[in-house]
């Protein structure tokens, strides 16, 4: 910085201040040129669709009579939001989503953390091999994973359930009481390995000197986990939790694919399914946009809320 500042001063002396300004303008121009592709893409594929969705959510198509005449595109302001929020189905979907969050988020973070810590003890067999094995499900697309699990969840196609049934245990994973756990299991299988890698990377970046110092102070493995490892990978745990909250709120693929297999999943099982159903089955993009905006606002609020809680003063020691 100092060198650059000095150089500008030297330029000022040689060519006068106007030239320096021209040069700094040129630099801004170069910077803009570099930022431009991202900005354009960001505006076109991120900001514009959001604005489009918000605008669309305030309109509705209205027919008349038997419904075969031309329709009118009318401005209804917040009617679509009121319709979505006052619908018992949509409310039930939101409730289900929060319940799923309560099940899935702790399960995911604890599983990923335990796997990462186990592989990090240095005492496991083939830690690299296991890391790859745990991570592998992440490479399977969600739809395929759900189809695979769907086979395993249905008694007539599942060797596991058939075996359990022979042993006297009659498990119905897709019954209304179990279906959220069945979905949580698929998500866990898919993403725990990914989250484990994030935590493993954080664990690997802890300097070995700290462990040496701890050993000199006679710290055992447990003490090292609680006093060193977990506090030092705290930012990564926060990140994994945040990702899981956001991912959970977007619950869509698993219930959609499982829906034909069970009476426990209807077309509005989660808010995203309700939005999808409104847009692609009912051809009503405005209501769908309103539902999507509601989910986005909730995800935003929950993410900010979570970060506020973990970042407030005094919470540094958990």
């Amino acid at each position: 910085m100092t060198a650059a500042a000095t150089a500008i001063t030297a330029d000022d002396v040689l060519h006068g201040p106007t030239d320096a300004r021209r040069r700094s303008n040129k630099r801004i121009g170069v910077a803009l040129l570099f930022v431009l592709p991202f900005t354009l893409m960001f505006l076109a594929f991120y900001v514009a669709p959001i604005i489009y969705a918000i605008v669309d959510s305030t309109f509705a198509m209205k027919s008349s009579g038997l419904g075969f005449g031309p329709q009118q595109h009318v401005f209804v302001f917040l009617d679509n939001y009121m319709a979505a929020l006052s619908s018992p189905d949509f409310q039930a979907g939101l409730g289900r989503l929060f319940l799923f969050c309560l099940i899935e988020v702790p399960l995911m973070v604890v599983t990923a953390g335990v796997l990462a810590l186990l592989l990090d003890t240095g005492k496991t067999l083939w830690p690299r091999g296991f890391r790859v094995i745990y991570f592998m499900p992440y490479g399977v697309p969600g739809v395929i994973a759900t189809l695979l699990w769907g086979f395993l969840y249905i008694p007539s196609t599942s060797p596991v359930l058939q075996g359990l049934s022979r042993a006297g245990i009659d498990l119905q994973p897709l019954d209304s009481g179990n279906v959220l756990f069945a979905i949580a299991n698929i998500s866990l299988w898919l993403y725990a390995g990914y989250n484990m890698i994030v935590l493993t990377a954080a664990l690997n970046s802890i300097p070995t000197e700290i462990y040496e110092a701890a050993r000199i102070d006679r710290a055992g493995e447990w003490a090292m986990v609680w006093r060193i490892k977990l506090p030092l990978i705290r930012p990564s745990i926060v990140l994994v939790t945040l990702f899981t909250i956001i991912g959970t709120l977007q619950l869509f693929v698993e219930p959609l694919v499982l829906s034909p297999l069970t009476t426990a999943i209807n077309s509005t099982f989660t808010p995203n399914m309700a939005a999808y159903n409104a847009a692609f089955a009912k051809n009503n993009s405005s209501v769908a946009a309103a539902m999507a905006v509601i989910v986005a606002v909730i995800a935003f609020a929950m993410s900010i809320g979570f970060l506020k809680i973990v970042n407030r003063k005094g919470s540094e020691a958990w």
């Binding site: 489009y52 027919s63 847009a279 986005a296 935003f300």
Partner: protein, 440 residues
């Protein structure tokens, strides 16, 4: 559950629209200088497997028109949404596959061309109730392709083994269900397909229900009419006595049960043959098809599986005349229709099906049914379809509300009849929300 950014949910819908509006390919070739030698190109969107064979026949017979087949997602799974968006964006295909049940929504959204002028001279080629289903306010909006008159597919070998006669009435069906389940606790006469509104709807139609009737300038909606409730109570009895297997049809579970003889019958349209034959080849020779069981002995009442399937000329085509010509030829040329029958497109929507070679003799099909000419059953069923059934707009709202409520009543063990009451309320509300006039 993608772990991308927060507002992806908000972008989902808008992205869907954006993705749909980007043209996959130029639907029509712009006129060029050498137009006289270059064949004119039409785009046809369909999801019927192997329909390219019929399209190829058209292309061979028409050197001046080349039809490009664009295989798309099945309509209710997103294909229709794609078509609506493309029409809105002004780059739709020329001709598209549309179910009878969805056609009113195409008319409502202004997505179908009025083809009355080009179609009228050929109207007599097609069966009357199919043409009626294409007609709104005196104008024709589609060419009927195939209809779905229902028949009863059943495992004749097991029925015979148990000494069960083919059920002629629903009461005999109930008695047969008891005999089947008594023979083996894992065996059921049929699946109760809670996922399949068209199936429930066909059963209601057969019981004499008319869910939608235009009255003056309003729809009379009666999803929970007494006929429907009679049907619902019948299946309720089978469910309560554990005589039907509660499972989605055309699901992995159901395919397994069809293969291993745990589900012995299926009420479906003529295209059900392709599904059973394709998925349970080992049961060849063990099936038969009969006319639907009746509410009154000796009657010949029948229903359809969501009406049937049509070809619609989408709004905005630059070649209206050729598009209509293609849609009519594809669905009335005997060779083309014969091909459509053998690929499992459905029962031809023609007034006279005696000229269709594959309907007269189809050794591979008939062998699967122990030599029975199963098309005779569907020909008779097709003749008896009551044309008073009318499809309203917003059919997808009807389907989701029936399916959701039937699922809920199975799940919560509440009466099926209540599911139809709830579906009635939901459908009336959905229609009124859209500004459509309803009388109950």
């Amino acid at each position: 559950m993608t772990r991308s950014k927060i507002a992806v949910a908000a972008g989902l819908v808008a992205f869907g629209l954006a993705a749909c509006s980007s043209p996959a390919q130029n639907p029509t070739t712009s006129p060029t200088a050498n137009e006289s030698t270059e064949p004119l190109t039409l785009t046809f969107q369909s999801w019927v497997p192997n329909i390219d064979r019929a399209v190829d026949l058209f292309n061979e017979a028409h050197p001046n028109i080349h039809v490009n087949l664009e295989t798309i997602t099945a309509g209710p799974d997103g294909g229709y949404a794609k078509m609506f968006s493309a029409v809105q964006a002004g780059n739709a295909a020329d001709v598209a596959q549309v179910g009878y049940d969805w056609l009113p929504d195409f008319v409502r959204n202004g997505a179908a061309e009025d083809i009355t002028a080009g179609f009228q001279s050929s109207a007599s080629l097609f069966q009357q109730w199919g043409v009626d289903a294409m007609t709104f306010g005196g104008a024709v909006y589609g060419v009927p392709q195939a209809s779905s008159p229902l028949g009863l597919y059943y495992r004749s070998d097991i029925f015979e083994g148990l000494g069960i006669e083919t059920p002629q009435t629903w009461d005999e069906f109930y008695q047969a269900a008891k005999a089947v389940h008594a023979s083996d606790p894992n065996r059921y006469i049929a699946a109760f397909a809670y996922n399949q509104t068209p199936w429930l709807l066909g059963l209601s139609e057969q019981a004499g229900a008319v869910w939608f009737e235009p009255e003056n300038d309003a729809w009379k909606v009666s999803v929970n009419d007494p006929e429907t409730k009679k049907m619902a109570e019948f299946w309720q009895k089978l469910i309560d006595e554990d005589l039907v297997k509660i499972e989605a049809d055309m699901s992995n579970e159901w395919y397994a049960d069809i293969q291993n003889g745990n589900v012995l019958s299926w009420i479906c349209g003529s295209w059900g043959d392709a599904i059973i034959r394709g998925n349970a080849p080992a049961t060849s020779g063990k099936w038969a098809v009969s006319y639907l069981p009746q509410w009154t002995a000796g009657a010949k009442d029948t229903g359809t599986w969501a009406g049937g399937s049509a070809n619609v000329v989408l709004k905005g085509t630059k070649h209206l005349k050729e598009a209509i010509e293609f849609a009519i030829w594809l669905n009335s040329n005997p060779e083309s229709v014969s091909t459509l029958v053998s690929i499992g497109a459905g029962w031809p929507a023609l007034a006279d099906t005696t000229q269709i070679p594959s309907l007269q003799d189809d050794p591979t099909v008939f062998a699967f049914y122990g030599g029975q000419n199963i098309w005779d059953v569907f020909a008779e069923s097709d003749k008896n379809v009551a044309s008073r059934w009318k499809w309203p707009p917003l059919v997808s709202s009807l389907y989701t509300s029936v399916t959701d409520n039937v699922k809920a009543s199975i799940n919560n063990k509440t009466p099926l009849t209540q599911a139809f009451d709830a579906a009635q309320a939901a459908m009336v509300a959905a229609m009124r929300d859209a500004g459509i006039s309803v009388v109950e």
